[in-house]
Amino acid sequence: MSFWEYLGDRRELLVFETWQHASMVFQTVLAALVIGVAAGIAVHRSERLATLATGAAGVAFTVPSLALLGLLITPLGLGVAPSVTALTLYSLLPIVRNTVVGLTGVDRTLVEAARGIGMTRAAVLLRIELPLAWPVILTGVRVATQLAMGVGAIAAYVSGPGLGEQIFSGLARLGGANALNMTLAGTLGIVLLALLFDGCFVVVGRLTTPRGIRD
């Protein structure tokens, strides 16, 4: 069976798995964005806490995805729960890091000027600091999405949802019929999804970056 025949034959399954993969990545990155930005805001004012947070994110980053997924089987079992947890944890790392870096990179004189004209702390955060840090945070979200795409493929090993299923089915049938088709479908599907998401980020970045700091 040629690759195109395979795609036609399994169209429904492939569309479903692609949708699952996209939806899993989208939801986990969204959750990581909320948690990560909140954590970044919480720690960025104290230099010690900020260093600790970026350091911890760096250390956690060295833990391989397979090891993390394996570790999560013990408390969470197989399936969606460990996959979503692992993806969220991985996505958190670049987002927290970039939130802290973005917020500490905001020019202090701007913050003081805003305080000087009578803005409250919350207003300064919402109207000065976060908009200025947004491009850096968005870069972090973009990296997180790419990461989640790849880790999502390995999540199929712990029976997670998505296109990784195709890759592992191909692996199980190594040397047999359709092994190449399955692996290729899974891999190319994820590459296409990653490019699609990346394209969305360019658009989102254009639309959400404040006019004054657009390049």
Partner: protein, 269 residues
């Protein structure tokens, strides 16, 4: 008011810079003070402590077989081999290619190469490993090829970016005092680009340790074997040992990369 003085690592590349280096940390102690070796010693002690704990925690027959010290040691050694061989291969490919692509005549092609590299990077590792296994059969070298295909991109990117950010005034000055292009490359550009290049190598090393755990899916050994054995036989201690040892190895290698980056970076930067 204290200005945030320390230049932060580039936010676009997680893990590309020294993670959380305290601002203004002294750089001198490496190699002179015991403190530089506290982190790796801690990692080794943690590994030994874990093995002692797990070996004495009432294992059943299957667990004892998978966790026999010589077997665990063999798997660790396989993992180190995979990591080392693929990192060396990555360097052999990425450094010359990066230098070539950063020459003036090749600069128009740079965005294209980086775009292709980005697309390649978005391919899931497990997919690439399995595709290669389907194409070339399983084994050590298939895995190395997959690891290299995956690891070349960040190293290549950092080499190119590092060389490109060198101030053109400095290379011009080098040419102006009569240095040949090769001498400018060797004595001006590469030393100035070395922090970024070394950061890329460090990222590659850590990436390789993590990715090598996938080798077990295509029967190339390594500590991933402990994880897959643990999952298929439902033996948590085996699974946990694999995870803990890979994570510790990654930390150790990260420390190694960081120390190498500090020792090899030219003074005065």
């Amino acid at each position: 008011m204290s200005a945030p003085a320390a230049p932060r690592p580039a936010p676009a590349a997680p893990g590309a810079g020294p993670p959380g280096e305290p601002a203004g940390a002294p750089r001198a102690p490496v190699g002179r003070s015991w403190r530089a070796f506290a982190a790796p010693a801690g990692v080794l002690v943690a590994g030994a402590a874990w093995m002692l704990y797990v070996e004495n925690s009432g294992l059943d027959a299957i667990e004892r077989r998978s966790l026999a010290p010589h077997y665990v040691w063999e798997k660790t050694w396989e993992h180190v081999q995979l990591t080392a061989v693929s990192t060396l291969a990555v360097l052999a490919v990425a450094l010359p290619l990066g230098i070539l692509l950063s020459r003036a005549w090749a600069r128009p092609g740079t965005p294209i190469v980086l775009a292709v590299a980005d697309i390649g990077q978005s391919a899931p590792t497990i997919g690439v490993v399995v595709l290669l296994a389907v194409a070339f059969g399983i084994g050590f070298w298939t895995t190395v090829v997959a690891l290299v295909a995956y690891g070349v991109l960040p190293a290549l990117r950092n080499t190119m970016v590092g060389l490109q950010q060198v101030d053109p005034a400095l290379t011009d000055a080098g040419r102006g005092i009569g240095m040949s292009p090769a001498a400018v490359l060797a004595r001006v550009e590469l030393p100035l680009a070395s922090p970024v290049i070394l950061a890329g190598i460090r990222t590659t090393l850590v990436l390789m340790v993590g990715t090598a755990s996938i080798a077990s899916f295509v029967s190339s050994g390594g500590l991933g074997d402990l994880i897959t054995t643990g999952v298929t036989t439902q033996r948590t201690p085996v699974l946990l040992t694999g995870c803990v040892l890979i994570a510790l190895l990654a930390l150790l290698v990260d420390w190694l990369g960081g120390t190498a980056a500090r020792l090899l970076a030219p003074k005065g930067l």
